[in-house]
Amino acid sequence: MNLTLYSITAFIILDTDGNRVLSKYYRQENNPSATKGLANPKEQRAFEKGLWQKTKKSGGDIILYDGRLAVYKHSLDLIFHLIANQDENELMISTALSAFSDAIHMLLRNQVEKRAVLENLDLVLLCLDETIDEGIIVETDPTTIASRVSRPRADTSEIVINEQTILSAYQTVKEKMTQRIAAGF
């Protein structure tokens, strides 16, 4: 029985071909047996390959793989997994995954696919950090998670658009056009 708050062993996103999009294995120093067999990238890769074989078909939601509990969710061309110890409460893990997944849907405006994830990696990584901290579930309310993820803002040195700048732009366009028309004839 797990009496600690460390409940998540790993978070893994695979694409539908079994390639790793990103995965985070939590160390769990006080419980080394939890990460046994997942210690180095090679073992992790093998684990993911095997896992993908079992989870590539959608509709299962949950499976016991390699002595670990894996809760997963398909989203277009991606599969999100949360890995936990096999004696963990299934609903607890599933709640955490749903929270993450719902928050990601909010952040990516429901376009949760591989390209969108890679283009908005900063949001995805922060979202994960707000959901799970080193194996501890930090938050399960998707709205809260999404609200805690900051979006990059334009650099302050960027162009300021106001009446004046629009006017000058118009002037430039006008000049260029006149030149072109003149040259054309």
């Binding site: 071909d17 299962g60 939601d61 949950i62 016991l64 299934e90 080193e134 501890i136 938050e139």
Partner: protein
């Protein structure tokens, strides 16, 4: 590179995944002015690199880490949040991370109402040295009770990570954690009762916000989960405190009064309750009531946790178990796969111990056989197989056959194991099951799966004689086309043993000889051995002749092992004596004894002058050997992982401990003339475990002597004990005469434990002498001079009173394993005795069983040591009674009844191969 996609986004991944580029581009951290957008993008790439399996060297990580810290100059909150994630990820590999503490501290201050304040708190625990925790105490205490859940949670999680290294400091935060458990901050944000003061604070802080960050209040109350986790961590050594905490937070009998709103926090509380319940039987009733209340909680997660815990409690009252099963039954029809999975998993594990109770949900389970989630279907099937009755077996088998092809090998193994136990439960149904097994044997599958099937068939051959012939022919067919050498060899071996006993042995020979023609060398060798057994065990001279011809052909084999075997067996055909010794022999060496003797032979250089003497090694029958090596079927442990890990206690079998003692005793010249040790007891403690001198006693029974072996430990480092002896005083007249004491010349802490032997002669070896001895440890104590390490000249004599040593019936008995019913019948004509006792002092049948087993030192058979009923029980025991004229089996049947007023009434029946044994056993219980 670990991450490589061949699809259109290859360019994108490559861009994100080049470590060298990223390190080079880290220059942007030094740009002035800093571009938050660019920097955040680069930080993202650093973290992503780590998340796809790349790793940085300490040097690289340190460079990146300190580059990152430059970004603290910029106030952009989107950038800062990413900085904190990067710091967390790099802190493990980078060096001198402690340097950024002050920068982080600034962001943690309560006056900074920024989005990244929780991030800074969570990053802090990664970079500080545990010894610094003290300095943050005031800050953490304030943050834990902060009104904003995300800050409070962050502080709690951070403390949780710190705890293992800074226990003493974090322990002082218990009051704050307690406050956080009870806090209602989440409600106050929504509730109409929100305090004015808080609203002002909220408005005020909003005004200060520079980043425009608006905290969205959490509805999850998850802070309670973190606070409860930390509280438990702080108090876990103190069971009273934990019990009190559970009572306070449990919210009374209905569970309605609890302040805990977060379901995950309640799940943790349930686990703590289960732990307390397991350790302290006094609170069992109270905890069970609480658990029962949680079964009715509105959250599925809490119901599930409570049900799981109840199902795992040993000896849980049936009505409570049934209520838990009722909750799980509702989950079985849930649309959520996760819930169905969880429920079936618990039920499948429970079916091992309580099949009849689980049977009540069989109807619901049958609906799940076709479940889309294959794991759910498999758990349902295996549970049904365990709980089903004989009538439903055929139907189930049909359903399984349809479903075997589309489940994974792991699950196939689980199903096959379930069927294997079913075969033994309903032997009448063997035909259906055998045809099922032979069917799946033909399916595609890996080694583990095929092995499971083959082992299941082996077991049927062994236990269900009616299906033996059928099963063997299925196996013959299987080896015709078997890709696994190991399995072929095992099957050929089995054919060699079972085949010759079959009515028509000749029909197997074709299959076996085919192997000789078609297979690899290992299988050919096994086939030769198998063939020879047919010839040697048969009385049919025609058959012998044909086998001879076949073996002669094998003499031309290309492999030397095959040729050698063929030659050896051909020789045996000519010399019957050889055949008797090597093929028909029904006994085998006791392997543990053989091993220990061989090891001592190899270690002793002088022994190699003479050949190894195998005749001194006791032999046991094949059946006995099989029983010794029998391990609990994998079925109970495989496939039901929700069951707690059963760590097999390394219980040495009687034979193994015996062989260890034989080794020790052989080294004592004075005891060499006593002959073989007939039996040795388990070590008994004669002192408290914390005393200065620790003594355990082992009793060895010889044909005409009893030797007491005292293992003495001296735990005082600066003294040496000399002339250590144990003086034994018989408390009553028995037929034992003391021979001699072999004292220890000297014993220090380093040489402990040492052994003192005391030998007695059994005046009349046919009697089983018993009695108790008062023991005193006598020695001369000398101080050790610390400068020289030598003991000083003068010492003083001292005595040390030990507990009494009992010599009783159990010392003459060695537990042994037999099949009770057949052995009981066999001994019908032998010596027997029956007596009735009234054990009024016994509180329960379990207590009676335990003490009978302890007194008699016999093996309980068939799980009868755990009474299923509280009123009537039959305990079956077997043992070997050792004596001068060889040892003999003794079986005991204890029929017991229990009532509150009279205690336990016991009818003891003994059947034994020797007359004296009955008397010994009856008097042991009577006395």
């Amino acid at each position: 590179m670990a991450f490589a996609s061949k699809k259109d986004d290859e360019g994108l991944s490559a861009y994100y995944n080049n470590k060298t580029t990223v390190i080079q581009e880290a220059r942007v951290f030094n740009d002035s002015p800093i571009s938050p957008r660019k920097c955040r993008a680069l930080l993202t790439r650093i973290v992503h690199l780590l998340y796809v399996g790349e790793s940085f060297s300490a040097q690289e990580a340190t460079t990146l880490f300190f580059g990152t810290t430059k970004l603290f100059q910029h106030k952009d909150s989107a950038l800062r949040q990413m900085v904190y994630l990067t710091i967390k990820e790099l802190a493990g590999t980078a060096e001198d991370v402690i340097m950024v503490t002050s920068s982080i501290m600034k962001d943690m201050q309560p006056n900074s109402e920024v989005i990244y304040r929780p991030n800074s708190i969570r990053a802090l625990c990664r970079i500080i040295d545990p010894s610094m925790a003290q300095g943050f105490e005031r800050f953490f205490k304030a943050a834990i009770v902060d009104k904003t859940p995300s800050i409070s949670s962050a502080a709690l999680v951070s403390s949780y990570h710190l705890f293992p290294n800074a226990k003493d400091v974090v322990k002082r935060w218990a009051n704050e954690a307690q406050e956080a458990v009870n806090s209602k901050s989440s409600t106050s944000l929504f509730g109409s009762s929100a305090s004015g003061g808080y609203l002002t604070a909220w408005g005020g802080s909003a005004g200060q916000q520079t980043s425009g960050y608006q905290a969205v209040p959490s509805t999850s109350y998850i802070t309670q989960y973190h606070a409860l986790g930390l509280l438990y961590l702080i108090r876990q050594q103190d069971r009273m405190a934990i019990t009190k905490m559970i009572q306070q937070l449990g919210g009374g009998k209905t569970g309605a009064g609890t302040t805990l709103k977060n379901p995950m926090a309640l799940c943790m509380l349930i686990r703590y309750a289960a732990k307390v319940l397991e350790e302290d039987p006094n609170v069992q009733k109270q905890m069970l009531d609480l658990l029962d209340g949680w079964l009715k909680h509105k959250s599925d997660m809490v119901n599930l946790e409570a049900a799981r815990v109840i199902c795992e409690i040993k000896n849980v009252p049936t009505f409570q178990l049934m209520r838990a099963i009722g909750v799980l039954q509702l989950f079985l029809s849930s649309p959520k796969a996760t819930l169905r999975f969880a429920a079936t998993r618990i039920l499948a594990a429970l079916a091992v111990t309580h099949p009849s109770n689980v049977a009540s949900v069989n109807v619901d389970l049958e609906n799940l056989i076709g479940d889309a989630n294959r794991s759910v279907a498999t758990y349902a099937i295996t549970t049904l197989l365990k709980t089903g009755n004989e009538a439903s077996v055929d139907r189930l088998m049909k359903q399984i056959s349809g479903f075997m092809s589309d489940i994974s090998d792991e699950f196939k193994v689980i199903v096959v194991d379930a069927i294997r136990s079913l075969c033994l439960k309903f032997p009448d149904k063997h035909a259906a099951m055998l045809s099922f097994l032979s069917g799946v044997l033909r399916d595609e599958g890996g080694y583990d799966f095929k092995r499971a099937v083959v082992e299941a068939i082996f077991e049927m051959v062994k236990f269900i004689s009616a299906c033996k012939e059928q099963a063997l022919s299925h196996l013959c067919e299987f080896i015709e086309d078997c890709e696994f050498t190991k399995l072929s060899v095992r099957i050929l071996h089995l054919l060699g043993i079972e085949g010759p006993k079959a009515p028509q042995p000749t029909k197997y020979i074709r299959f076996i000889y085919n192997r000789v023609v078609l297979e690899n060398a290992t299988v050919r060798a096994a086939a030769v051995g198998s063939l020879a057994k047919f010839g040697l065990n048969s009385n049919d001279s025609g058959l012998k002749k044909s086998i001879n011809t076949l073996l002669n052909r094998c003499l031309d084999d290309v492999d030397d092992e095959v040729r050698d075997r063929a030659a050896m067996y051909l020789r045996m055909f000519k010399e019957c004596l050889l055949a008797d010794a090597y093929v028909k022999e029904e006994s085998v060496f006791s392997l543990d004894v053989l091993e220990s003797k061989l090891v001592s032979y190899v270690n002793d250089p002088s022994a190699s002058a003479t050949p190894f003497d195998a005749s001194s090694i006791p032999k046991i029958s094949r059946a006995q050997a099989a029983a010794d090596s029998a391990r609990p079927s994998s079925l109970e442990t495989v496939g039901f992982p929700s069951k707690k890990e059963v760590t097999p206690t390394p219980q040495l079998s009687a034979v193994e401990t015996q062989s260890a003692f034989i080794q020790q005793l052989k080294e004592v010249p004075e005891l060499a003339t006593y002959g073989e040790v007939l039996g040795s007891s388990k070590p008994a403690q004669l002192t408290e475990s914390e005393t200065e001198y620790q003594v355990t006693c082992v009793k060895h029974i010889f044909a005409e002597h009893v030797v007491f072996q005292f293992n003495v430990s001296n735990t005082i480092p600066d003294t040496v004990l000399e002339q250590v002896a144990v003086v034994m005083q018989l408390s009553a007249e028995t037929s034992l005469t003391e021979d001699f004491i072999i004292p220890l010349p000297s014993l220090s802490a380093a040489t402990s434990p040492g052994i003192v032997y005391v030998s007695f002669t059994r005046d009349s070896p046919e009697e089983y002498a018993s009695g108790s001895f008062q023991c005193v440890l006598k020695f001369v104590s000398k101080e050790v001079d610390p400068s020289t390490g030598e003991p000083e000249e003068d010492g003083y004599e001292d005595e040390y009173q030990l507990e009494e040593v009992e010599l009783g019936a159990g010392d003459y008995i060695i537990p042994t394993y037999v099949t009770f019913s057949s052995e009981w019948d066999r001994l019908r004509g032998g010596a027997s005795a029956t007596e009735t006792f009234s054990l009024s002092a016994m509180e329960s049948l379990k207590a009676a069983c335990d003490s009978i087993i302890e007194i008699l030192n016999m093996q309980a058979l068939g799980g009868t040591e755990d009474p299923a009923s509280t009123t009537v029980h039959t305990l079956q025991l077997a043992g070997m009674v050792v004596g001068a004229g060889g040892s003999g089996k003794a079986l005991v049947r204890c029929r017991m009844t229990h009532s509150k007023t009279q205690g336990v009434t016991l009818e003891l029946s003994v059947r034994a191969e020797k007359e004296g044994a009955c008397g010994l056993i009856v008097s042991a219980i009577g006395g």
